[in-house]
């Protein structure tokens, strides 16, 4: 049996508190109205979740390869994340932050982490890797997605990273009231789920990789 939680669109209801408010006091509450309200709430949970997470103007002439400075593999999972950004021949590395990662409505699926960039390779292949993990240095076991290009002119490349609920991490939030000494007890504490994102840029042959208009956003799974 197919189960439905939302019609997939926002269905307008009369203004809350107004004379025609369907939820106003002493009005009959039909299941059909609850069905519409449930559909809207589920739809809003899904749609509100999809958002821009990060943007970066881009990297210019990155000539670092995956075999840099003692790394003997050209596999992207061995990306030289610890490189000092200023050394000659460095790959590009950016910490793209920690981001709330919640399910796509009640589906249990997580939104797709989508990386999109204009990308070109001045020789060799240009590569961009996006890694999601719990905040430590990226490891080969972490989830990742790669976009690449051999184009000599900028072209749009987009990749997606599908995570499962086992790939997200808990963050305790306990904001304290700071206007007293010592600070007051946390108000509205809670726990949300997050992932940390890392972006790496390289060139396969030590030629020049350039990226522009890099964004990471959440898309529907």
């Amino acid at each position: 049996m197919t189960t439905i939680t939302t019609a997939g669109i926002w269905i307008d209801l009369p203004t809350s508190g107004g004379a025609a408010d369907r939820f106003r006091a002493d009005q009959p509450l039909g299941a059909g109205l609850v069905q519409i309200a449930s559909s809207n709430a589920e739809f809003a949970c899904r749609e509100n979740n999809l958002r821009t997470l990060w943007e970066h103007p881009g990297f210019t002439d990155v000539d670092g390869t995956l075999d840099l400075f003692g790394y003997t593999t050209s596999d992207v999972i061995e990306f030289p994340w610890d490189i000092v950004p200023t050394v000659p021949g460095a790959v590009g590395v950016a910490y793209a932050g920690a981001h709330r990662m919640r399910g796509y409505g009640s589906t249990g699926d997580l939104p797709l982490i989508t990386i999109s960039a204009r990308l070109k390779a001045g020789g060799g292949s240009a590569g961009v890797v996006l890694v999601a993990n719990g905040g430590s240095r990226p490891q080969p076991s972490d989830r990742y997605a790669v976009i690449g290009s051999t184009s000599a002119t900028y072209e749009r490349k987009t990749g997606t990273l599908a995570l499962t609920l086992g790939d997200v991490f808990s963050r305790s939030i306990a904001p304290v009231v700071e206007d007293t000494t010592p600070p007051g007890a946390p108000i509205e504490p809670g726990v949300d789920t997050i992932v940390h994102l890392w972006v790496g840029v390289w060139n396969s042959s030590g030629a020049k990789t350039s990226t522009r208009g890099m964004t990471i956003y959440l898309g529907a799974p």
Binding site: F23, G30, N48, T52, Y95, R102, D179, G190
Partner: protein, 343 residues
């Protein structure tokens, strides 16, 4: 004021169990209240990022008129060229354009932010990352005199010794409670099994409206060091050299995911800018829906925020945005770009 804490859950409510002309059960209303709360407060979408820096002054922007009441501020630092003794310091000031809180110690701002951050010195840069996370409370800033009806500017001043600040992130935090002081929020406890559904159900409608109206998605937030701004010299609209340029004469294009709640997504946009002399300028964005301009009056050397541009995004699952600008004479400097949803 009565609060009821809630976990971040999204219950599944199947339409088949609520057929038209059927009878509503109290348990169904309880689940609906929880789902509406999650829709309204569980997925706030404003944020901004300051990218890797060795120092400077950066401005980020957030509208305080959403359901979020906290902003998480995360500063991450690591050593720069060698793992030696080091430090990163960040100050925060928040203003609505009239009243300013900070920088420096303030009872309205998290004091933990002010202590220097000392990344590790093990030798592996990413292993040595050190992050400090604090939470800025919206209501504290309102109590300090900031207006909740205009955008707020968060100014970060970064200084470093042998370190990079790898990122400064600011983002709205989900709600972990319903509060009777809010105009929205539905308490599931009103709907006990086998009990009647009373007029508390009114709050569900208001909460659903908050899920639609009291949300803003940041589509684009580029914050440059005020001392390393983009420069506009073209006398007619042209791609902006610097952060917004793909290649000579070609503007960078940023892909975003429009919020598709019905109708064409509306945005407001603008920049933090200054004109070097008594001349004017302008910026415009082009999206899949059209091109939208914002005329910028002279500032005669002073930095000014102007986010009064109005535009629209394509009503599709992805859209591309690019910026262009002109300066009627001399040079116009731009330090921040911001595009945010108008719900």
């Amino acid at each position: 004021m009565t609060t009821r804490s809630r976990d971040l859950t999204t219950p599944a409510l199947y339409s088949q169990t609520r057929p038209s002309r059927g009878t509503v059960q109290a348990s169904q209303s309880a689940a609906l209240a929880e789902l509406a709360n999650d829709a309204a407060g569980g997925h706030p979408a404003q944020r901004a990022t300051v990218l890797r820096t060795v120092g400077g002054t950066y401005h980020c922007y957030i509208w305080p008129d959403t359901t979020a009441i906290y902003y998480a501020v995360r500063v991450t630092a690591s050593w720069r060229t060698a793992p030696v003794f080091n430090a990163s310091s960040v100050t925060l000031a928040v203003t609505d354009g009239t009243t300013t809180v900070g920088p420096g110690a303030s009872v309205y701002l998290p004091r933990n932010l002010l202590a220097p951050i000392h990344p590790g010195v093990s030798g592996a840069r990413l292993v040595d990352f050190e992050t400090r996370e604090v939470f800025v409370q919206r209501d504290s800033l309102v109590a300090a005199g900031l207006s909740p009806s205009v955008p707020w500017r968060f100014t970060f001043v970064v200084t470093t010794v042998a370190t990079y600040v790898e990122a400064i992130e600011i983002a709205e935090v989900s709600r972990f409670a319903t509060d009777t002081a809010d105009t929205y929020g539905a308490d599931p406890d009103y709907y006990q099994p086998r009990s009647i559904i009373d007029d508390n159900v009114v709050s569900i409608g208001a909460t659903l409206e908050a899920a639609y109206d009291l949300q803003r998605r940041t589509y684009h937030a580029v914050s440059l060091d005020e001392g390393a701004h983009d420069d506009v010299t073209s006398g007619t609209y042209a791609p902006i050299p610097g952060s917004q340029l793909e290649s000579a004469g070609v503007a960078s294009r940023w892909q975003v995911r429009p919020r598709l709640m019905g109708g064409v997504p509306e945005v407001q946009f603008g920049v933090r800018y200054r004109t070097t002399g008594a001349h004017t300028g302008g910026v415009r964005i082009t999206t899949g829906a059209g091109t939208y301009t914002l005329t910028l009056p002279t500032t005669s050397g002073a930095w000014v925020d102007d986010f009064t541009g109005v535009g629209y995004l394509a009503q599709t699952t992805t859209d591309e945005i690019y910026w262009e600008a002109f300066s009627s004479a001399g040079t116009m400097h731009i330090a921040s770009y911001w595009i945010v949803e108008t719900p």
